[in-house]
């Protein structure tokens, strides 16, 4: 095992050396074309510094050696959900930060944090300063369950809960009460499983990650012993993927507590399922059968065919003490099966309720078309409907599903479409555009100062330093003002 660890370190350094050499070679090859700064060449603006923004930028820079790309990000820190979504015990997933960093440090790329597009600067202003604008601002809202009691203390959206343990500034004061024994999570996607795992994982498993220290302390004192993950449809429709399910199954000192009745008839259809679905289902059935360590005092369980109908409040009506679930039956079969209520309900006692039924994009500027039903910017292959020169990528283009690789592919697609439009003459490149110079000046008149990538690196260094003293890879700063102070120091 030790050997393997070392090998991985070596492997990491191989990637690093390669990455840098590729970057420098790339610069050398461009030779004369560079020196663009104020002169001609297409200028593209990207709104949002998450995976979609960085992958779109990467592809644009690679495909056209005369194009400059500026990324505007609301927060002083980059990387979007890779920093604020991906679970702290999944550091490998965050390796993508290395290539985002290379992109940000590219000669023809610049990062401008602390700019809230839609408020500090409008999309029309950006469109005037750039040849093209790409919206990659993700999904900052969440779907609500739309049931009575949803706003009671003790009920949280997964988005906020995840933001809390991942150090998202706006969630630092969440203070979830973890003094109850049972927590119910609604929804069975990977986010639901992330939350369940964080709630049940032994603290030793988390204490050397970049989880925020205040949440680590709260989790260390948590009394939560049982986590139920509730889905409206059946085992064959579960939304999570197998890696995350296996992590639940392998969680030390925790056993699985499932309802065998939920799996009636499943064994019979197993053999006809496509491989991914089949393996996922087999793993669930294994958990049903084996349960795991009987002596474990903590447990998790999947509950199927149940939809939330009401959050139940205690006698004083002041906080959540349970949830009423409607029992469902399935109409149809396969991925597209629908849940229909049977009329029966079931009450579950619980002091913590986390709604994990999906994130949701929100409109940021009235000048941009928005489809309220699908909660995306309406587009055709990444070209925003009826708006020449405006594009989109990532969750705001597709909706809030898909792993980083999905987001990467769709961002590459958007970049290719944009390049094609440049080449076909659909984008007017004949006029020079001022780009960041004009926008930074405009922001200055409004009292908005940006955080450049080199300034983020100061924040990064400080976070690493604070992490070191705690034996963690980093301790995230939770306060935007403090971030800004360090960035501009």
């Amino acid at each position: 095992m030790k050997m393997m660890t070392m090998i991985n370190l070596v492997r990491g350094s191989v990637m690093k050396i390669h990455g840098l050499s590729r970057a420098s070679r790339c610069l050398a090859a461009e030779g004369g074309v560079r020196g663009l700064s104020s002169s001609s060449g297409p200028r593209v603006c990207i709104v949002g510094g998450g995976p979609a923004g960085f992958y779109t930028a990467q592809q644009l820079l690679k495909a056209r050696h005369d194009t400059a790309v500026d990324v505007y990000e609301r927060l002083p820190v980059p990387f979007g959900l890779v920093r604020f979504g991906v679970a702290p015990d999944h550091p490998e997933v965050k390796n993508v930060i290395n290539s985002f960093t290379q992109t940000a440090q590219h000669e023809r790329c610049s990062f401008h944090g602390n700019v809230n597009v839609g408020k500090d600067v409008t999309i029309d202003e950006l469109r005037q300063a750039y040849h093209a604008v790409v919206l990659s601002y993700g999904a900052e809202g969440n779907r609500s369950m739309g049931i009575p009691g949803e706003d009671l203390p003790g009920v949280f959206s997964a988005k906020d809960f995840v933001g809390w343990y991942n150090g998202l500034p706006c969630n630092k004061e969440l203070h979830p009460d973890l003094s109850c024994e049972t927590a119910v999570i609604l929804g069975q996607g990977n986010v639901a499983l992330d939350v369940a795992r964080i709630l049940l994982a032994p603290v030793e498993m988390l204490k050397e990650t970049d989880i925020s220290q205040n949440s680590l302390e709260a989790l260390a004192n948590s009394k939560v012993r049982r986590v139920l993950i509730v889905g409206r449809r059946g085992p064959l429709q579960i939304a999570c993927t197998i890696k995350e399910l296996r992590e639940m199954v392998n969680l030390p000192k925790v056993r699985a507590d499932m309802l065998p009745a939920d799996f009636k008839g499943i064994a019979e259809v197993l053999k006809d399922l496509p491989r991914p679905r089949k393996r996922l289902t087999e793993l669930m059935m294994k958990a049903v059968k084996e349960g795991g360590d009987d002596k474990a005092e903590k447990c998790w369980g999947l509950r199927f065919f149940r939809s939330p109908v009401e959050v139940l409040a205690g006698a004083d009506g002041k906080r959540a003490t349970g949830i009423r679930l409607a029992l469902n039956k399935l109409e149809g079969s396969g991925e597209s099966a629908r849940a229909e209520v049977t009329g029966q309900t079931e009450d579950v006692d619980c002091g913590l309720i986390i709604s994990s039924i999906g994130y949701k994009s929100i409109p940021i500027d009235p000048a941009v078309p928005f489809d309220p039903r699908r909660a995306i910017v309406p587009n055709e292959m990444g070209r925003v409907q009826d708006t020449a020169g405006l594009y989109c990528s990532g969750w705001v283009k597709r909706g809030p599903t898909g792993v980083i690789a999905t987001t990467m592919n769709d961002s590459f697609d958007t970049a290719r479409v944009l390049i094609q439009d440049m080449e076909d003459g659909k984008l007017d490149l004949s006029v020079n555009k001022p780009g960041a110079k004009a926008i930074t000046a405009l922001l200055q008149t409004r009292g908005v100062r940006t955080v450049l990538f080199s300034q983020w690196e100061k924040i990064n260094a400080e976070e690493e330093k604070r992490g070191r003293s705690l034996g963690k890879p980093r301790e995230k700063l939770l306060d935007v003002d403090e971030m800004l102070k360090i960035a501009w120091s």
């Binding site: 991985n8 490998e92 050397e208 991925e335």
Partner: protein, 179 residues
């Protein structure tokens, strides 16, 4: 603060996570192929020098655009190493840097070669299940290492979904892959 330092940090994180794995579960989700051949002194040159030159074999990649790229590489290298070391132009390949967390290193093998590769770990299968265009002879490139008997093999780089409209349908991450 430099990018290097950031990377070192991330590597450390990965190592710590593995330490956690070691303590808490039997799961081993990392490539086994390099054991023995690699010394962990430093960097790529030392690695390659420590292997004898006669152990070079040829690998052919059929890229997405239909172009064939042929390279000579050393036994013991993973297919991800090859793509990286030879700077092969495959968009998005190896996003998680070989830590079994992304499936972007998906490659499709010829059936006879696939059979020679040996068993796949559950963890590799788990990530493969998320890959676009999954086939019965798919593997993750970061988990397969070059051997002498694989000389001359042809690897196909699968297409990724390139029509945004396909993707915007209600997506289920466990749906059968569309090629």
């Amino acid at each position: 603060m430099s990018a290097c330092a950031l990377r070192v940090l991330l590597q450390r994180a990965a190592v710590m996570r593995k330490a956690a794995h070691q303590t808490f579960s039997q799961t081993r989700a990392f490539p086994q192929c390099v054991t023995g051949s690699y010394t962990y002194s430093r960097g790529i040159n030392t690695l390659t020098n420590s292997l004898r030159a006669e152990e070079k074999v040829t690998v052919h990649f059929l890229n997405r655009d239909g172009k064939r790229i042929s390279v000579k590489a050393l036994t013991g290298e993973s297919l991800l190493d090859i793509v990286v070391n030879h700077d092969l132009d495959i968009d998005g390949f190896g996003a998680c840097e070989g830590t079994l967390a992304c499936s972007t290193c998906h490659l499709i093998f010829e059936e006879a070669v696939y059979k020679k590769l040996g068993p796949i770990s559950d963890e590799e299968m788990d990530m493969l299940d998320l890959a676009y265009g999954l086939t019965d002879t798919s593997r993750l490139g970061c988990q397969v290492c070059l051997r002498k008997d694989l000389d001359g093999m042809i690897l196909r780089v699968p297409d990724v979904i390139s029509d945004a409209r396909v993707d915007s349908e209600k997506e289920s991450s466990t749906a059968p892959p569309k090629v």
